[in-house]
């Protein structure tokens, strides 16, 4: 792209600056900027800046001031030049103010003065005083006389409003810039000390400005400057600074009542109450209490609670909340009437008129405050258990009102109102409901079971009144408390009021009577209280009938299936006599209602969980076989469809098409048979996975610690073996039919893994040989997933009842994994496969250390080590971490077998030097900082375990291929000395990090 020719004169530069503000293409703008930046950085930059400030255009003047900033930050000038520069900049400020230059020019000149101060604060330590003095005399060359001049208090009031504003802008920029400068750096300690000295003058100009004689504009800018200085004071604490600024709080609070400066004042007060409560003295709090009792405040409060959610109105509410947060201790004191009166006001914020989030902007912040207050109450209650608890007086008596307000607020509006909201408002509404749910859970700690009673009563009352929005909100609140309940029947009587009411009858009546949303929430209530139904089985049939009935309705099918699963899983032991009925019901539903995939998976899971609890094996296996037949018939259908010619098309209203696609994906036109086949296959596999998960033992079932392999084998009946073979056949068939479908292959792996967590025999707890046969069959896609399954399988075999077969398992799987490594060539060709493969090998050698010596041909064993070194040298973080783990394991590998130990030692001696080199290259700068801890592990083990480590590491450090030239031989030697003397202790990690920083070069020690 052509460069813009360098401007030859100031006129040319002016034109170029002006062209920056004309409509231009991004490329042209970019070229103009480049050209101007070149000018700024050129030696003539100072003169150009000066000349541009003399021009009439604000844009050009702004660029001139900006050029001074750039020069100050990039060029080096001596003190004499810097002194002249201050005078020049102040002169330009005076001239610009006199000429009525725009605010962008004045602000940029203030910014240039601040930049100057940051670099040369020793030349004019009391910069505020100096600036005020110069502005008063309208010239910059009198700066040196400022120290002997009258105090700022006497001079500042005589400045024009424009000059007073420019001083406020300068003061604000000074604090803003000061806050960014590291206060811990010795280089800047003097600067911060000088800033603190200036705070006295800042306080004076703010105090004078707030007195009001100069008008609201000056007041507003003075408050903004104070805001910046308070932020500075909060970040860089200093007693002197605090003492200087604190007297300004009172006049700032008084400014709240002045409309023109209300927003600036409320902003600074809210921020300070939120972030720097120690800044406020008791007198300030007293003044704020009085303010909230005043008529002005009452009027603001009324407007807010009556639905005025304008910016300034909401700001008032936020000030109240910030004040409440700062006064939590006082608000918890029942005897503090003033505080309780204020707390009542905060309670009212929860009941402001208007819909949550879409209109009412104060509810969520107020709710946050109440959650904090309730937590503090709970802390007090537990820290002083002997204190009397009185629920009839504030603040405790307010809590039930909080609950009531929340319940009303979270009620869904009429559907037409809800539909008119945008997505942000809807999401915000949902989030606010979750916040209420959190608050209720916090409150349960205080209120206990009475809170359950409140919502149970509200549920039944809303039900009687057929007030659906209220019923929905009550059910939502009741549901959110389900996790808080103890694991006993103490609340059963209260819950029976709800579940024994006409709730189920009403819900069964359908959408025409009860809105969908209310029904959804009530159905999920059943799921949340599934433990209750275990104890009160008399309500179970009604609940299940209701849920199965709801499967017919598309809006309710998903939540109903979820509830069915939870209920069947929890009540499995009670439901076993009904397993046949459930299977029949499943058959009926499948043929009558097109279900979504997830819905069907959950129903299958639910039935499988009941089957799992059937005590007698013949009945259990019989029931499962019935379920498997249904799933297998679908898989058969998928295979049949797949065998059809590719041109075979199916109509969208074909029952198979309708059943195989989810409602939102169902085709409207003809669809290829092969696509339907894949859909059917995936859905069937998901159902099979659902069955496998359902058959898993509940996590609280007893485990026989004395069980051994023989007991597992003994418990495996021929019928069970036959079932396992049938399942594996199904998996093998589908794998062979859809070899290119990643989804099918992934799901097959999930099905296989589902049995790995089990300790008891079952249809999915496959004997090792069946798993090995499936895994070692060809995988066109999803090979990494299969290898990952294999490494999980090793853990299963090791921890489970087949431990004795570990050697055979590894012997069969290891060559298969090595063949993948061989095909890969280099780890970067498939980092995921490389990672899982090396993880498998790591587990294999841990379980059977001699396995590598039996790998045939033996060159393959060497190839594994080379591969693991390549992974360590690579850039991919996960494979690198896996390789580090592999080497950590291998270095520490020990066995009683002498021959194997000799092989391990031989391998270590052969690969030790390259391993040391790889590790040193990594810690010498090649690795990323986040990888260092992981890489330190093999390094520590190497140093601790191997006598040759020092020699190998030394050679690696001094090798020409060492990646950094930033460390001297002495530093390398020191590093080696440190890590060897630490002998693999934890402190090595820190030494490694420091060495890595040195190798990467200065500048990377910016963080630990």
């Amino acid at each position: 792209m052509d460069q813009i020719p360098q401007p030859a004169s100031i006129d040319d530069i002016e034109n170029l600056v002006e062209s920056l503000y004309q409509p231009n293409s991004p490329a042209v703008v970019s070229r103009i900027q480049e050209s101007l930046q070149r000018l700024q950085k050129s030696p003539d930059g100072w003169q150009i800046a000066d000349a541009l400030l003399a021009r009439s255009s604000d844009n050009v003047k702004f660029f001139g001031a900006l050029t001074f900033v750039v020069k100050l930050n990039t060029d080096t000038i001596d003190d004499e030049e810097a002194k002249l520069l201050i005078q020049k900049l102040i002169n330009w400020l005076v001239v610009s103010l006199d000429n009525g230059a725009g605010s962008i020019v004045i602000r940029k000149l203030c910014s240039a003065l601040v930049t100057h101060y940051v670099h040369f604060s020793h030349l004019w330590p009391l910069c505020i005083r100096g600036l005020v003095y110069c502005l008063d005399l309208n010239k910059g060359d009198v700066l040196d006389d400022a120290q002997d001049a009258a105090p700022v208090r006497d001079i500042f009031p005589s400045l024009t409003p424009q000059k007073a504003i420019s001083v406020a802008w300068f003061a604000a920029a000074l604090a803003e810039e000061g806050e960014k400068i590291d206060s811990r750096s010795s280089k800047y300690i003097a600067l911060h000390e000088r800033l603190v000295r200036n705070s006295q003058d800042v306080a004076t100009i703010v105090a004078v400005s707030l007195s009001g004689s100069a008008g609201p504009r000056v007041q507003r800018d003075a408050i903004d400057a104070l805001h910046d200085w308070m932020t500075y004071g909060e970040r860089v604490p200093n007693d002197q600074l605090t003492a200087n600024l604190r007297p300004l709080l009172r006049p700032t609070i008084e400014c709240l009542a002045v409309d023109d400066i209300y927003e600036a004042a409320i902003e600074i007060l809210t921020d300070s109450l939120n972030n720097w409560q120690n800044f406020f003295a008791q007198d300030d709090y007293d003044l704020l209490y009085s303010l909230f009792d005043s008529d002005w405040s009452q009027k603001r409060y009324q407007e807010l609670t009556q639905g005025d959610f304008d910016f300034s109105s909401v700001k008032f509410g936020l000030l109240m909340i910030a004040f409440g947060d700062a006064q939590i201790t006082e608000l918890l004191d029942p005897s503090n009437e003033r505080a309780q009166r204020f707390l009542a006001g905060l309670l009212g914020l929860l009941a402001a008129q208007g819909h949550l989030v879409a209109e009412d902007k104060i509810f969520v912040p107020a709710l946050d405050f109440w959650a904090t207050l309730i937590e503090s109450m709970t802390d007090n209650l537990f820290s002083e258990p002997d204190q009397p608890v009185n629920w009839s007086i504030p603040p405790l008596s307010y809590l039930m009102q909080v609950v009531s307000h929340c319940w009303r607020k979270i009620q869904y509006p009429h559907i037409s109102v809800y539909n008119a909201w945008d997505s942000t408002e809807r999401v915000g509404f949902g989030d606010a409901r979750k916040d209420v749910s959190d608050l209720l859970q916090t409150m349960y700690t205080l209120a206990g079971e009475s809170l359950i009673s409140v919502f149970a009563d509200l549920t039944t009352q809303s039900l009687s009144a057929t007030s659906w929005a209220e019923l929905e909100a009550a059910a939502f609140c009741l549901g959110s408390l389900s996790d808080c309940l103890p694991d006993n029947d103490s609340c059963d009587a209260v819950l029976s009021k709800v579940f024994g009411s006409q709730l189920f009858d009403l819900l069964r009546q359908g959408q025409s009577v009860v809105p969908v949303r209310t029904r959804q929430t009530c159905l999920s209530l059943i799921e949340r209280y599934s433990d209750y139904f275990v104890r009160r089985a008399e309500f179970l049939p009604a609940a299940l009938n209701l849920l199965f009935g709801a499967l017919n309705e598309s809006h309710l099918a998903g939540p109903s299936a979820k509830s069915i699963y939870r209920l069947c899983s929890s009540c499995r032991a009670i439901l076993t006599p009904e397993v046949g009925a459930f299977l029949d019901q499943y058959g009926v539903i499948r043929n009558s209602v097109p279900m979504d995939s997830l819905t069907e998976e959950r129903i299958v899971s639910a039935i499988a969980s009941i089957i799992q609890a059937v005590p007698e094996e013949p009945q259990r296996l019989g029931a499962f076989r019935q379920l498997l037949v249904v799933i297998a018939s679908d898989i058969e259908k998928a295979i049949q469809l797949k065998s059809m010619p590719e041109s075979f098309m199916m109509e969208p209203n074909d029952p198979t098409v309708i059943q195989s696609f989810d409602s939102n994906q169902r085709p409207t036109q003809q669809v290829p048979g092969h696509e339907v086949a894949l859909q059917v296959a995936v859905r069937s596999l998901r159902c099979l996975l659902g069955a496998a998960k359902g058959l898993q033992s509940p996590s609280d079932s007893p485990i026989n610690l004395d069980a051994d392999e023989s007991s597992m084998t003994a418990k495996t009946s021929p019928e069970l073996e036959q079932l396992q073979i049938s399942i594996m056949n199904v998996l093998a068939q589908i794998k062979a039919t859809f070899p290119d479908s990643l989804q099918v292959m992934t799901d097959i792996n999930h099905v296989v893994r589902a049995g790995f967590s089990e300790t008891e025999p079952g249809p999915f707890v496959f004997p090792p040989q069946l798993v090995i046969d499936l895994l070692t069959s060809p995988w066109h896609v999803a090979a990494p997933t299969a290898v990952n399954t294999a490494q999980v399988f090793l853990s299963y075999v090791h921890n489970g009842n087949y431990r004795g077969q570990m050697r055979q398992v590894i012997d069969q799987l290891l060559p298969w994994v090595i063949s993948y490594i061989g095909m890969l060539g280099h780890p970067s060709n498939d980092p995921e496969l490389a990672q899982f493969s090396i993880e498998f090998i790591q587990k294999a050698i841990q379980r059977c250390p001699d396995v590598l010596s039996r790998v045939q041909p033996q060159s393959n064993a060497g190839y594994i080590f080379t591969f693991a070194i390549e992974m360590l040298n690579g850039k991919e973080p996960l494979p690198k971490a896996a390789a580090a783990d592999f080497w950590t394991s291998f270095i520490t590998l020990k066995t009683d077998d002498e021959s194997t130990q000799s092989t391990i030692t031989g391998a270590m001696n052969q690969f030790g030097p390259v391993l040391a080199q790889s590790l040193i290259h990594n810690v010498g700068g090649n690795a990323a900082r986040s990888e260092l801890d992981k890489l330190s592990d093999p390094l520590k083990k190497l140093v601790f375990q191997n006598a040759n480590a020092r020699q190998w590491l030394e050679a690696a450090l001094n090798d020409d291929s060492f990646p950094s030239d930033k460390v001297s031989p002495a530093e390398k030697a020191l590093f080696l000395k440190k890590i060897t003397s630490l002998r693999g202790s934890r402190a090595t990690n820190q030494v490694v990090k420091e060495f890595w920083v040195s190798c990467r070069g200065t500048g990377l020690g910016y963080t630990s």
Binding site: R184, W276, D438, Y1006
Partner: protein, 113 residues
């Protein structure tokens, strides 16, 4: 840990997103595209932003139940060790179980503010 001159903890720098950010900053410094001072500023902003985002914008919920084995409160840091813990996700997914869980928690706002 936060000092009285810093308002936000640095503990999230150890999270995967914090570590990834630090790695990226390291690369930018190595390529002389930014200087270390800017990297420090960015990390300080990260400390603030992640604390605020986790507090204000993360809406995902997770509840867990377990037996409290030991707890301590030292230097404004709570440590809880739980046994037999079950986690329940907001999305209604599967329940996740763990034998042992250690929770380290600090006050949302460091002291001194």
């Amino acid at each position: 840990m936060a000092t009285d001159k810093q308002s936000f903890y640095e503990l999230y720098r150890q999270s995967s997103v914090g570590a990834a950010l630090t790695d990226a900053l390291d690369d930018l410094i190595m390529e002389t595209r930014i200087d270390p001072q800017l990297a420090m500023k960015i990390l300080a902003n990260f400390d603030r932003a992640i604390a605020e985002v986790l507090q204000n914008q993360v809406r995902a919920r997770l509840s867990f139940k377990g037996s409290l084995d030991t707890y301590r409160f030292c230097d404004e840091v709570w440590t809880f060790q739980l046994k037999n813990v079950t986690f329940k996700m907001d999305s209604g997914g599967q329940v996740v179980s763990a034998d042992k869980v250690k929770i380290v928690s600090c006050t949302a706002k460091p002291t001194g503010t």
